[in-house]
């Protein structure tokens, strides 16, 4: 459904306006029969509730969504400033398979070996909104790998790093 009442410039204006909301950068990961790790870069990761611990990701049609719906599970790895190349690789349509060696299975689902923190999620709810599928994952295992490294940030359509604490 396309809302014909949307001002023609509104979508463009929305894109700029929403880019002012800074986010971290994360990799959603999945595997089918342990044969190959599928990864996808996202900068929209929503913490839905603490009890039970639940994350929401939003996916468009594609291989990752198919995998997540088929396996009913997914991993999430939050990137540090040293992982811009990982982010770029998994943003591309043609991924470099060499990056697969950076994933390890901590409990059940592959997540990145070096990251700020990681999550293994089981799909508990799926919802559709226009062209996006909202996937709710209950976190079955998670952990902080590195809390001392600066996060990779996305703000104003560009990568950023090294934010300073504000006391």
């Amino acid at each position: 459904m396309t809302d014909l009442n949307v001002h023609p410039d509104l979508s463009l204006e929305f894109r700029s306006s929403v880019s002012m909301f800074a986010t971290g950068v994360a990799i959603v990961s999945n595997t089918l029969d342990d044969a190959q790790v599928y990864g996808m870069t996202i900068n929209s990761l929503t913490s839905i509730c603490l009890t039970p611990p639940t994350l929401m990701i939003s996916l468009k049609e594609g291989v990752m969504l198919d995998q997540v719906l088929k396996t009913r599970q997914f991993g999430v790895s939050i990137l540090s400033k040293n992982q811009k190349d990982v982010s770029n690789n998994y943003s591309r349509k043609e991924k470099d398979a060499a990056y697969e060696k950076h994933f390890i299975v901590r409990e059940k689902i592959p997540t990145l070996q070096d990251c700020l923190s990681w999550f293994e999620c089981e799909v508990v709810k799926v919802d559709q909104y226009e062209d996006h599928t909202l996937v709710f994952g209950e976190v079955k295992a998670c952990g902080v790998d590195n809390s001392a490294i600066s996060p990779l940030l996305f703000f104003s359509s560009n990568y950023h790093f090294d934010p300073r604490p504000l006391n």
Copy 2:
């Protein structure tokens, strides 16, 4: 529903792990009969889709949720590094009413006069997940106020600012 299978330490671990995902800071705003501006600080703001432009916020029970459901609309203002006091004010249970003078009505809904960007949203979908209500708002008006000021960031349970561009 409390999942009794959740490891007792998992909620704590989740809290630390998810705090590694950096976010901006925003104020949700609303008014009833233009009498008083209600504001609430959030750091979870999800861009759901571009066409039509749609944001999702997640609210617990309280005055803000009641107002949003009653008026079927809400505003969102994204904060700059100079607005830590605004964030603190609208995080508190007892808000200082003096901050209401910082809101203006651009089209229909009050948003902050000085912010990085602002949005006026009409509620198009409401969903419940455990103790949180997910509110989907179609953006009817929005704009960038300041793109040159550093954003206020929340990372590792602390405010941050001045992230550097990473080329």
